[in-house]
Symmetry: C2
Amino acid sequence: MTDSNDSDATLPYPEFGIRPGEVAGELPATFDAGLYYIGRIRTPWTRRADCPKNARESDALCTVEIAPAFRPALEGLDGTSHVWLLYFMDRAPRDLLVQVPNTYGKGRGTFALRSPARPNPIAMSAAQLVAIEGGNLIVRGLDCLDGTPLLDIKPYFASTDAIPDAVVGWHMARRNGDSGPT
Amino acid sequence: MTDSNDSDATLPYPEFGIRPGEVAGELPATFDAGLYYIGRIRTPWTRRADCPKNARESDALCTVEIAPAFRPALEGLDGTSHVWLLYFMDRAPRDLLVQVPNTYGKGRGTFALRSPARPNPIAMSAAQLVAIEGGNLIVRGLDCLDGTPLLDIKPYFASTDAIPDAVVGWHMARRNGDSGPT
């Protein structure tokens, strides 16, 4: 386990940097818990600029490669229409508290955004489960970089996960017709 | 890092254990990434048996305590109706691949379940944001233990997160009227 300074020094995220109006904090000196990468997500996108801005904009089929040791945990997932994929945005900085998204220009707190830059850069996407093939998943509806480390797969339960009338305050206020969460 | 037998012996989760039909795997020898606990969730429930079976069954107000260093990241979250809370189920075993839930009796893969026991025990709940008070959140719709470590807060975007017609194969097949994801 490295401390936060070591990991900051070695991470390759040239696309990120502090913009005017952004605020970075000091991260704790040590981690509190650890993560296993349980697989990798294969997508058509190898640069951040090429990724779809909104996962629902893309019909691309992606492959979720599950490490062989974890494949028995897929038992019973067939017949499920959508899955949550949790993955680790390992190229994102973790110390940004207030961010100025490229497209908006207004600073907002990290917890009010879905930016990959956050203290624990865990992303979650609801993807359509198209097929299970040889211990891997074929899915539709992702927007992440090729090779992104996988953390978890969960079935999507509409009874607890679907809130169609939820609103995001600052996003409503923009009223410009863009419905994306980036 | 201990092997699965050692971790069984040292973790305080008396409620968990291998039931007939369950399968445990061997976890990797080292972690691939680290997590910071950014706060704690305060709920009325101190024992697993007391937690609501389904978060939507409970109207209890819970407090999400944000560590002071991360409070600037709440900027702009006001006016948002629902948030995703990601938290770490730090008492759950991580090596179970096939589980036999108490209430069903049939073994299913960890990735087909929402059980807290999983390789990376990250739970996610969509909670109603009732208020932001003194840098903490007051929310409704949680079912976790008091003191659960917080990992992330994200705004709920209906455009990407709400899939009201999603179905879970094995759950549909049960056809017993219980709509919970446990």
